[in-house]
Symmetry: D2
Subunit: 137 residues, 4 copies
């Protein structure tokens, strides 16, 4: 069981979604941030780095947005829809763009295939959290 | 002249807003993140820390959102409205909430008065950047 | 297999330690950062928040240091002992202090017990990476 | 007066260095992180991006280390020499390396000249804070 889930299970929160959905989203954001940071470095090591520029930029944005969204989502005690919902929308958008760009390089670069998978999982987990929060909101 | 502005003046970007507005927003986000990080620590040092809990939580969220938004805004070369606009909306919302909470403690704690000012400036600078991006978009 | 490990397995690096040791350290740092972020929020929700101030401060420092160290360690392609070694030493120190403080609250607060475990694991993983890098260096 | 300095002037801390030296270091770290984030994006936009790979990697490390060190330094209330001193040493090392690499590109790329300046100032400010902390420690 992830630390995000273990922590969520140990304290009371004014949580607007079940702990499993929240923990899955936090884990997916942290995984995606890590994959994007590593993919940036791997892209920079490729001979065709010129063709990887868009991928690198998207990975940098994706890591920043995932990290901030994971932080805010981990503090759901003070949940504010006007902050969390647009953040989750931004996270879905960047994970989608970054995942699609990584996918384009997946056959040539295995690291982009792995990163594309992390982005897609994060996009999906954020959509599920958004659905849960909007139904309960 | 801030480093954000100096950097923006040195390279070509597919920028959808004038460099002054973008640099002012980046500077205000970085200032606000710094004020929130310091205010969190100052709040933790107060005797009435129990009454500062909401302020601390908002400052932590505000610092995370400002930092990520400053990063993404600094990479406007790959500007994507579906990412930047919701991020800026999230930044406006958290700066407004955090600024209002800090203002409530401003008479008792000078550090909250300073932080409230940084939040209000950041909220205003993000609104101006949003206006500029939406007009040009 | 973690994304950190999957990514490390997909590209060539001038790596001074085996991929398992590096990936374990990166995973432990990301887990520890997440546990510390969540523990900060949980601490703020406790009735005895006044007694949790030191724990909160250490968790905030620990999250910052773990995040930066995970980032730099993920970019080992450009490994520089003068940067990575002191960072890992700082990470060991803060994980040790934060883990000990969390341990003090572990009987009263389950979230602190979980966070203490994450800190200890990260301290240990950083020590193992330090050993590997210093032997090879 | 910067927000870092304003905040430091508003609350009591167990500070081991004068507020001017601490605030100057925090400001220089935040400026350097911002310059490095922007320089990364500018480097990615250059035609000779292949020759900028080392510069990009150093800028990414430098931004991470400066951000974490600024955070920990802003929480000097819980000052711990075993954490802050190695962090400051890591910050000096990466600012030195990053500044030297940026300097190599300064004649061709104005953005690297600006970033080199931010790195050198941060290196110097960190050295001064280290001196102050070690004398008092």
């Amino acid at each position: 069981m992830s630390y995000a889930r273990q922590m969520l299970d140990t304290y009371r929160r004014a949580l607007d979604a079940d702990a499993g959905t929240v923990a899955a989203a936090i884990d997916a954001m942290n995984d995606c941030a890590q994959a994007c940071i590593a993919d940036t470095d791997a892209d920079l090591g490729e001979q065709n780095v010129t063709e990887m520029v868009r991928c690198i930029r998207l990975c940098l944005d994706c890591a920043d947005v995932c990290t901030a969204t994971a932080g805010v989502t981990s503090r759901l005690a003070g949940y504010d829809a006007d902050v969390t919902l647009p953040l989750l929308h931004a996270c879905v958008s960047i994970c989608k763009s970054c995942g699609e760009e990584c996918e384009r390089h997946a056959r040539m670069h295995e690291h982009c295939r792995v990163c594309a998978e992390a982005c897609r999982r994060c996009e999906q987990a954020c959509r599920e959290l958004l659905d849960a929060l909007q139904i309960s909101g």
